[in-house]
Symmetry: C2
């Protein structure tokens, strides 16, 4: 009887909606911030606990390689000439492997645009037919040391940046960023899109290539470290990174361009596009994370990538195997005239920045990103602080001023994510679900549980 | 008796050292954050309270003019040609008026350098003699619509930026920033200093002048607003401002420079000097605050400036009158080999940024500034939050991401400062106290009480 006579103090575990009932009836209650594990296979958690020392050592080793990476921009080239395994009839795309029939609208749009850009089709109809004919091969950028934002399409004659991890010697590749509005990476393929790509190939590429050769190399790691002190998280906000890159390259562009007007036009283009640096921060992240691959018993996530249909994950200790699940639709600020109903599920290799401790993991450095979708600067701090829960360590170079220059949470441990039920927080752009439209918003999301649950279970099951 | 039997709970007002005794003897005590008023003339506080409504209205009016200012870079010219009242035998300096015999070492060094730069003296000895001869006149930059960092020396043939407040039509002038190391503004006058100034006059100035003419105008207000979102407070940290200015001007420099190599050299110079934007943020602040001058009954501070000997203040409602007191020596991070014993008292017109709600008032936007002298990001927030205590309003353009984009505290009310005993917080560079040495550190300080006490008392006494 005593229990029923005493004051009720409730700890609510699970659905937060139960809290309303307690507060309505004047009962004191707190919500436990409990999240169920991603996997119901309890035995696998027990197993990974048994192997903890070995896994810890492997994760530290893998993360050390990521942190020791020295990614520098060392050159540019045409995809066919420089990307390993690139072929004329091959199109690289964002995310895990996918066939034409399962591709989302914006990725189809970008493939169509690329086939016209390559001169392999003269119009939409021809391009669509060719794309579906089986004559074109599709493979993930990630399987060719490359990364691409949004649809992430790289075709044979596209110019790419060459980023070298000067510590381990591996390379990463990414295209030049096209800017905002109607652009290929969001699935647009109108004549203005193709014309811009042609200008980027014939005018901007030679100018930047020569300027980079003139400089020898551009240290991207220091640039990203600086950009984090300047309000960027180098995923959805790249204004500082773009500014620093611009400052570094402008005098070289002037000294080497075929004429001053060309130099001015190239710099105008970069100045007009605050996201120019994104593709470089992605290539930097790819070059860093690839160095952490292949460490036996490491549960470190080395890839998170989306093709607009599936969200895929790879781990250091499980080789080239992809773990996938449906890509979610982001919470976003939609451009006027668009709603979530227009949005394509999450797409792009740009989550490689989060995998590298940047982007959503560094929102505390860039509160503007969160404010953009109605959050506060406290939310921005919370997102970053939460990510420390699932990461192997803290970054030694990328630091957050508002956290007294604490290193960003870096290196997702799939075991921690699975056990705590905490999913990586990702900043993202949103593409229209139909081909040919383009960007409709920008926002944030948590990664979906399925790929992480599968990755954890596979990793744990195969421990021996 | 009851009083002595009950538990002791102490509120300690005044000396914080008393707190130790309480905690040693286990007595609960809190420290009241009480600061005595700056003035002992209690009757004057009563008087300003009686006039509160009128003063409030005047301060709102003055601040509105400051906030409505639209400072844009509209051109460049030679000081003699463009600065009102400039003459060949006149040297403008930072801070309130001062004679040669009272000038500090670094200001004397800069005057000596300027006389050699002008070709009026061939060496140090000749220059020093001329400087003290009475043939050279000295007047504050501030009395000629100009501002100068540190020694703030402007001589007749120096090129200056022309900043126009497009709302009120008034102008402000500032020299081009020389960079760090041995530079005139820190009192250095060696041949390398004079050579650099000559290059800035003969190469950089024509290139920038032509580029600005080509562009028509450069909106500085938006640039500062952006820079605050990018980790600058545009006083001791100007990396973002410099980057944004560089991006804006580079294509125009290329299109108009006499040859590509000149364009590249000019951009190299700006790229090599993260403080290049400082002189522009100062001129922007001067152009904004001058618009708030001359409002009857306004206790708004429109100038804080130091000549390295005196710290001077002017108010909107008290015309051109200076209120001065000894300039303090800043707490600083000293460069290797130097200590506070080498430091000159605070110097420069750059506190015009704080007067405009930037610099020390915006440290929350730039925690790196505070960390530099051993503080934390929490300290950076506290400095900004404290300044809201003594300001008339919040900025409508300059906003702080980590405070959910709250406007910076803007427009010091000398009555609030005097009543609450809270002094403006200022970021600063530190010059060696001897002529010819240069910078020895950078740091932070609170403005000294005397100028504010005098300004308050004069203002209050003359209210009628």
């Amino acid at each position: 009887m005593k229990l029923f006579e005493s004051e009720l103090k409730v700890v609510n575990i699970g659905l937060e909606s139960f809290m309303q009932g307690f507060s309505d009836s004047g009962v004191k209650a707190v919500q436990a911030q409990f999240k169920p594990p991603l996997s119901a296979e309890t035995a696998l958690f027990v197993k990974t606990a048994r192997y903890a020392a070995r896994i810890d050592a492997a994760n530290k080793k893998a993360l050390a390689r990521v942190l020791e990476a020295k990614p520098a921009l060392v050159g540019m080239g045409i995809a066919l000439d420089v990307i390993p395994g690139m072929k004329k009839d091959l199109i690289l795309h964002a995310g895990p492997p996918i066939t034409w029939d399962r591709m989302c609208g914006p990725m189809r749009g970008a493939v169509i645009g690329a086939l016209m850009y390559e001169g392999m089709a003269k119009d939409f109809r021809e391009a669509e037919k060719l794309a579906a004919s089986g004559k074109i091969k599709y493979e993930p950028c990630h399987e060719h040391n490359a990364v691409g934002p949004m649809a992430g399409i790289i075709s044979a004659s596209m110019p790419v940046f060459i980023v070298k991890n000067e510590a381990a010697g591996n390379y990463a590749y990414a295209t030049q960023n096209e800017g905002l509005g109607k652009v290929l990476r969001y699935g647009a393929y109108s004549p203005e899109v193709i014309e811009r790509l042609k200008w980027m190939e014939s005018v901007m590429y030679p100018a930047l290539k020569t300027a980079i050769e003139f400089l020898g190399r551009i240290d991207l790691k220091t640039m990203v470290a600086q950009a984090l002190h300047m309000g960027d998280e180098v995923h959805n906000r790249n204004r500082a990174g773009t500014s620093l890159f611009y400052r570094a390259i402008a005098p070289a562009v002037i000294r080497t361009a075929r004429d001053p007007e060309t130099a001015a036009k190239v710099l105008d283009f970069i100045n007009g596009n605050d996201h120019f640096f994104l593709n470089l921060s992605m290539a930097l992240s790819k070059a860093s994370l690839d160095a952490g691959r292949g460490v036996k018993d490491s549960s470190l996530v080395v890839v998170m990538a989306r093709n607009g249909t599936d969200f895929g994950v790879q781990l250091s200790g499980t080789g080239g195997k992809w773990f996938t699940g449906p890509a979610p639709i982001p919470d976003a600020l939609y451009f006027p005239g668009y709603t979530k109903a227009d949005a394509n599920p999450d797409i792009g290799d740009s989550a490689i920045t989060e995998t590298n401790g940047l982007g959503g993991f560094a929102t505390a450095a860039a509160p503007a990103i969160v404010q953009f979708v109605g959050g506060t600067s406290a939310d921005a701090l919370t997102y970053t602080l939460t990510m420390y829960e699932i990461t192997v360590g803290e970054n030694n170079m990328y630091k957050i001023p508002s956290l007294d220059f604490r290193g960003t949470p870096t290196g997702i441990d799939v075991i921690k994510a699975a056990k705590k039920g905490i999913l990586p927080f990702i900043d993202t752009g949103v593409a229209h679900k139909n081909a040919g439209v383009g960007q409709v918003g920008a926002g944030v999301l948590s990664a979906p549980p399925e790929p992480f649950a599968k990755a954890f279970e596979y990793f744990a099951r195969n421990l021996k």
